[in-house]
Structure formats: structure tokens, C-alpha cells
């Protein structure tokens, strides 16, 4: 046997941050920030921080959160868009990081709450827990900035960056692999869509 990288858990350190506290900090004083959340725990975290019509909660479309954010960011060049999603959701849409990086979408940031596990389905280890580096992938895809954050000071420093137009930006926040009580956002997609558009002054058809 040679001493090649064995892949399994190589260099991985499980995060410890409280996901609810992280998302509360990100959305604190959010101003006009437009938010898209990935299905599952990320949506519950954003809901726990306070329901808001400017948050579009996904309940499905796994792998699509970042691209919903990109379409939105291109449509709203004067606003700032933040996608908050999980490692599993982002891994399913890995190509979208290349699409966003290639277009240099300045008013878009993607924040991955990385617990290295598939929390909704029984806490199976995800690729990030097996050594895959999402921050490196974002950087290599052309994101203007990318960061791995493992303490709350880093999260607090991240918040103002989400309101700057020097993106696309990417942050992976190392959270604990726990499963807090679910706080469920509305799951009526038409309602979520209509109220989101309404806050932007866009009427129903």
C-alpha cells in the first residue's frame, strides 16, 4: 500500500457552532437583504430567526437554492441576495457554484451551514465530512471571496459582507451536527412566492 489520501474523514474537524445562533446572527438587522433558504434545517433556522416575507423558504428543489438566488440577484442588481443552505443541499448543486462564479454575480452570497451530515435523513455523513472542501471549490470556481468560519466572531464579521456588492461570496460555517426542534415556515409555495414579490412592489399576475 502507498500512503495516498484515503479520503475518509481526511482532515475533517466537526464544527461546534449552534446553527440557530449562527443564522440569527446572519439575519440580525438584515435591512433589505433578500434571502433564499435551502430545504430542511436551513429553512427551519431562518424561520426560527423570525418569519419575513423577504425570505423565500424552499421545501424541496434540492440543489436549487443557489440558482434561485442567482436568478433573483440578476433580477435585483441593486439589492443583496443571500442563500442560506446546508452542505448536502449545496453538494447536490455543485455545478451551480461554477455557474455563479463564471458570471461573477456581485450581489450574491452563498452561506453553507456545514454540519457534515444529512440531518434530515438520519445523520449520515456527507461528502464534507469525508474530506470534500466546499470553500476550495467555491474559490476555484471564481467566487470573489470565500471563507471557512468556525467561531461566532467570524460569523459576526461575515454579516456586513453580505450587504456589500463585491461578490459572489461564499462562506462555510462549521456547525454542530445536532437536530434542534423544528420551527416550520409556511409551505404553501404560491403564498411564499406572492408575498416575496409583494415586498418588492411586484403584484400578482
Amino acid at each position: 500500500m502507498t500512503t495516498q489520501n484515503q479520503g475518509h474523514n481526511s482532515g475533517h474537524v466537526q464544527g461546534t457552532l449552534d446553527r440557530r445562533a449562527v443564522v440569527r446572527a446572519i439575519l440580525h438587522d438584515r435591512k433589505k437583504l433578500l434571502v433564499v433558504t435551502g430545504l430542511g434545517s436551513s429553512s427551519y433556522d431562518a424561520m426560527a430567526a423570525g418569519d419575513d416575507p423577504r425570505t423565500f423558504f424552499l421545501w424541496g428543489a434540492m440543489g436549487g437554492a443557489a440558482m434561485v438566488g442567482m436568478g433573483l440577484a440578476l433580477a435585483r442588481p441593486d439589492d443583496h441576495v443571500c442563500v442560506i443552505t446546508g452542505d448536502g443541499e449545496q453538494l447536490m448543486g455543485l455545478g451551480s457554484l461554477a455557474t455563479i462564479g463564471a458570471q461573477k454575480v456581485k450581489n450574491l452570497s452563498v452561506v453553507v451551514l456545514d454540519n457534515s451530515h444529512y440531518g434530515e435523513t438520519g445523520m449520515q455523513s456527507s461528502h464534507t465530512g469525508l474530506g470534500v472542501d466546499l470553500v476550495g471549490i467555491a474559490a476555484a470556481s471564481g467566487f470573489s471571496w470565500s471563507a471557512r468560519l468556525s467561531d461566532m466572531a467570524g460569523v459576526d464579521a461575515l454579516r456586513p459582507r453580505l450587504h456589500r456588492a463585491d461578490g459572489p461570496g461564499f462562506a462555510s460555517i462549521q456547525i454542530a451536527a445536532d437536530d434542534p426542534t423544528r420551527v416550520l415556515p409556511p409551505r404553501d409555495g404560491v403564498f411564499l412566492k406572492t408575498r416575496f414579490r409583494e415586498t418588492l412592489g411586484l403584484g400578482p399576475i
Binding site: A65, L74, G93
Partner: protein, 178 residues
């Protein structure tokens, strides 16, 4: 090598582009296809449209939803082989009743050299319909502009998901041996 284009081929693509402009389409996410290459060039040259390549078609489904959330209209350009890639993401369109329009060039149905294109080509219409997308067919270049204009109304005024399939016979026989 692409042969010189006939007048009707040029008109056909120009007509589709006119329809997209008339409907104020602002975003053109695409997975390239030779049959869409003129349209992609026109969209890229347009000062208002944002045309951007995707790594897979389902990204365009999600982007179209995001565009609408922000008040813009998007149309997805793709080849029939990408229809299957869109399936689960079309749940987003259905669950939220987002307007959706895909312009799809067909492979695997007419003078097809590559057998690997045939299974998805045969399944394209069915795949869209399985997910509630209504499917139209353009087999006559003279009807391309009016069909696309009608599909734009159905998508963005009627708020329904639509795919317009462009027959492979419109694109012509592909020269494989160069």
C-alpha cells in the same frame, strides 16, 4: 462545418428573438445546442438580456424561479437530452406556480446518427408532461415566431409551465464524418 445558412433559417432564429424581446425576457440561462447558437449569440449581444451558461439544465429551472421572484422573466434554452435532468427541479415550478418556458431543440428523432441520443429524445415530451409542463411542437420554421410568442403568453400571462420542442428536421442533418 456548418453550411451557409438559408434565409429561412436566419428568419427563424430572428423571429424567436423578436418574440423574446417583445415579451421583455431579461434572462436566458442555457445549456448550449447548435440549434440555439444564433439565438444565444443574439441574446449575448443584447444590452439588456443576461444570457448565461449552465452546467446542467435543472439550474436553469431554479434560476427562472429566482428571476420571477425578482420581477424578471427568464427563458431556458436547452437540448432534448436535458429534459430528464429537469424533472425534480420542476417540482419548484409546480409547487409555487412559477411561470416557466423552455425552448428545446430535439435530438434523437430524425436523421439521428448517435443512438445514445435516442432514448431521451423519445422520452422528452413524456418527461415534461409527467411534471405538468405543457408541450408544443414546432416543425415548420414559418411558425416558430408565433408559436414562441403564444408560449410566452401562456407562461407569463397564463402562469403555466410550457416547453416548446423544435423538431430535429428543422435543425437539419448533422454532418458526422468530417
Amino acid at each position: 462545418m456548418a453550411a451557409a445558412k438559408t434565409t429561412s433559417e436566419i428568419d427563424w432564429h430572428a423571429g424567436i428573438f423578436r418574440a423574446l424581446k417583445a415579451a421583455d425576457i431579461r434572462q436566458i440561462p442555457y445549456v448550449p445546442d447548435a440549434g440555439h447558437s444564433d439565438l444565444i449569440r443574439s441574446a449575448q449581444a443584447d444590452p439588456i438580456m443576461k444570457a448565461y451558461p449552465l452546467t446542467t439544465e435543472e439550474e436553469g429551472v431554479a434560476a427562472a424561479a429566482g428571476a420571477w421572484l425578482g420581477g424578471e422573466r427568464a427563458v431556458l434554452l436547452m437540448q432534448s437530452s436535458g429534459a430528464g435532468n429537469c424533472i425534480n427541479m420542476l417540482s419548484l415550478i409546480a409547487a409555487c406556480r412559477f411561470p416557466f418556458l423552455a425552448l428545446v431543440t430535439m435530438r434523437g428523432e430524425w436523421a439521428e446518427f448517435n443512438p445514445w441520443q435516442v432514448p431521451m429524445g423519445r422520452a422528452t415530451q413524456g418527461a415534461f408532461e409527467l411534471m405538468g409542463v405543457s408541450v408544443r411542437r414546432v416543425s415548420d420554421t414559418g411558425k416558430a415566431e408565433t408559436e414562441v410568442a403564444a408560449a410566452l403568453d401562456d407562461a407569463f400571462l397564463g402562469e403555466q409551465p410550457v416547453a416548446v420542442l423544435f423538431s430535429q428536421s428543422l435543425i437539419g442533418r448533422k454532418t458526422w464524418i468530417k
